[in-house]
């Protein structure tokens, strides 16, 4: 008990600060990635061969870019983007310097998840919407995006948790956050208790995100009532 109090006295503030950094590195890039990723996911779906408006060239090019984006190891991504990060964020260091490459790396991942969620919408509903005279915009806004909300939310939970992992990589090259703490204290300084504490906090974060999302999805999904 006494040991625990001592631990918090020494490391409490630092852990709290880095937890907040990690949360920022999860939320902000995910939000940005969805802002950009949803339109891209929609384009991928609509321009696909069986889609509402097939367009082979657009679909191929967009698909390529997304695939390349997902293939590049994130740590290389960060380094390659440093010049751009400096322009956009003003720095390439710390949390601010990590958010930009995290967001850019998350976009292709989110785009594919969105495309997947949209593709799962019952094709009978799309056909019904067409039979009433809906144009492509209306089908996308009123049917695809609306009917896939539960699936999109689940995808968001997955994306957030994936970014937790990515933020640790960013942490290893100076961004801060819990991953950075775990590596610095656990691996480099052999202060294993700190590393364990950081990992435990990560576990709690993931549990909270997943639990909140489960509740939200159950409320929002009108299919299970």
């Amino acid at each position: 008990m006494e040991w625990l109090q001592g631990f918090f006295a020494d490391y409490g503030v630092m852990l709290a600060q880095e937890t907040w950094n990690t949360i920022l590195m999860m939320l902000v890039p995910t939000a940005v990635a969805y802002l950009v990723g949803i339109p891209i996911g929609v384009l991928l779906l609509v321009s696909a061969p069986g889609g509402l408006r097939p367009h082979r060239v657009l679909n191929a090019v967009l698909g390529w870019i997304v695939n390349i984006g997902r293939s590049i190891p994130f740590v290389i991504f960060i380094v390659v983007l440093i010049p751009a990060t400096r322009i956009v964020m003003g720095t390439s260091l710390g949390v601010a310097g990590a958010i930009f490459p995290l967001a850019v790396a998350a976009i292709p991942f989110v785009a594919r998840m969105v495309e997947q969620s949209l593709a799962e919408v019952d094709s009978g509903l799309i056909e019904a919407a067409q039979s009433f005279g809906a144009n492509i915009w209306q089908i996308v806004m009123k049917v695809y995006l609306k009917e896939s909300v539960p699936s999109l939310l689940r995808g968001a939970a997955i994306s957030l948790i994936t970014l937790l992992g990515y933020s640790a990589i960013a942490g290893m090259i100076g961004a801060g956050g819990l991953g950075d703490v775990a590596v610095r204290y656990g691996y480099q300084r052999y202060e294993v208790e700190v590393m364990i504490a950081a990992v435990l906090i990560c576990i709690v974060l993931v549990q909270i995100i997943q639990s909140i999302m489960n509740v939200v999805v159950r409320r929002v999904d009108k299919r299970s009532r």
């Binding site: 019952d122 009978g124 509903l125 056909e127 019904a128 009433f132 005279g133 809906a134 009917e147 009532r225």
Partner: protein, 305 residues
């Protein structure tokens, strides 16, 4: 009036699939026109050509004197707005309330909110589901869902309603109530209906005219009563006798129920003759009443009509 002229639809693929071959049909205003056929015969493809969900490969669709076959863009959307459609699996929007499902077609044409809701409530009253307006489709039974779908299809006052196997997923009692609703709508609102079904019972119940389709071709059309009482085509006859399983179990009789044999006997005649013969145990294997023969050896069972 809908005129379908020399309509063909071929799917290119590994091998060409001729879904529709030279179809000619005329559907008059106010008809409840049935299109009957087995699975894969082409009925769903045919009905989807009417609102151009499928593009014909050749031929024309003429609706009220206008050739709509080549429509696209805004013209096409306007055409579709004037044609309602209901589906076998209802295709209701799961994340929308019943009310919002019904207002959907009205949203598409940018009707004002108050007017949309007023109209939707009118339609829900027509189908008898006003109290379910704020429920979601997952909370409704199959029959109720199809009623919502019908209300939705009527939202824009269509002149034509396409019904693709509308009752195939419903039990008998619900089927009857839905068919009654459709008939009432046809009579009271004057909506022309095109009813796709594989069930003769359904066609016989509400259709005034029918067309029989087989392997992409129309094999027979006419007034329902006439077709049923005097079927001209072999396919129709087979459909009519469809509670009889054609062919012998041992394969000895060369003629199946489809069509007439060399002596011009129809399916039901052949069956009656076979029961009379009653010599082959396999022929009569499934018919216990035949075995309950009298001591004179004549079968006492009932005859198939």
């Amino acid at each position: 009036m809908i005129q379908i002229e020399h309509l063909s639809k071929t799917y290119d693929g590994a091998s060409k699939h001729h879904a529709l071959i030279d179809v000619d049909l005329t559907i008059e205003d106010g008809d409840i026109f049935g299109i009957i056929g087995e699975s894969g015969a082409g009925k769903s493809t045919l009905v989807r050509c009417i609102n151009l969900l499928e593009r014909p490969t050749s031929g024309r669709i003429v609706i009220d004197g206008e050739d709509v076959t080549g429509y696209s863009g805004k013209q096409l959307l306007e055409l579709r707005s004037s044609i309602g459609m209901i589906f076998q699996n209802f295709s209701l929007f799961q994340q929308r309330t019943v009310l919002k499902n019904v207002t959907f077609p009205l949203e598409l044409v940018h009707e004002k909110r108050e007017h949309r809701e007023k109209r939707a409530y009118e339609l829900l009253e027509l189908v008898g589901l006003t109290e379910k307006a704020k429920s979601y489709p997952s909370q409704l039974s199959g029959g109720q869902q199809q009623r919502v779908a019908i209300a939705r299809a009527l939202a824009n006052n269509p002149r034509v309603m396409l019904c693709d196997e509308a009752t195939s997923a419903l039990d008998t009692r619900t089927t009857i109530s839905i068919l009654k609703l459709l008939k009432d709508i046809n009579e009271e609102l004057g909506v022309t209906m095109v009813v796709i079904t594989h069930s003769l019972a359904v066609a016989e119940k509400i259709c005034n005219k029918i067309a029989v389709i087989d392997k992409g071709r129309i094999v027979e059309t006419g007034e329902t009563a006439a077709v049923f009482s005097n079927p001209q085509s072999a396919v129709t006859r087979e459909l009519l006798g469809s509670d009889y399983l054609p062919g012998d179990f041992d394969g000895s009789a060369g003629t199946s129920a489809s069509g007439t044999d060399a002596r011009g006997r129809s399916a039901s005649t052949i069956l009656a003759d076979a029961i009379d013969a009653a010599s082959n145990p396999f022929v009569n294997a499934g018919r216990p009443e035949v075995h309950a023969s009298t001591s004179e050896g004549k079968p006492a069972g009932r005859r198939v009509k």
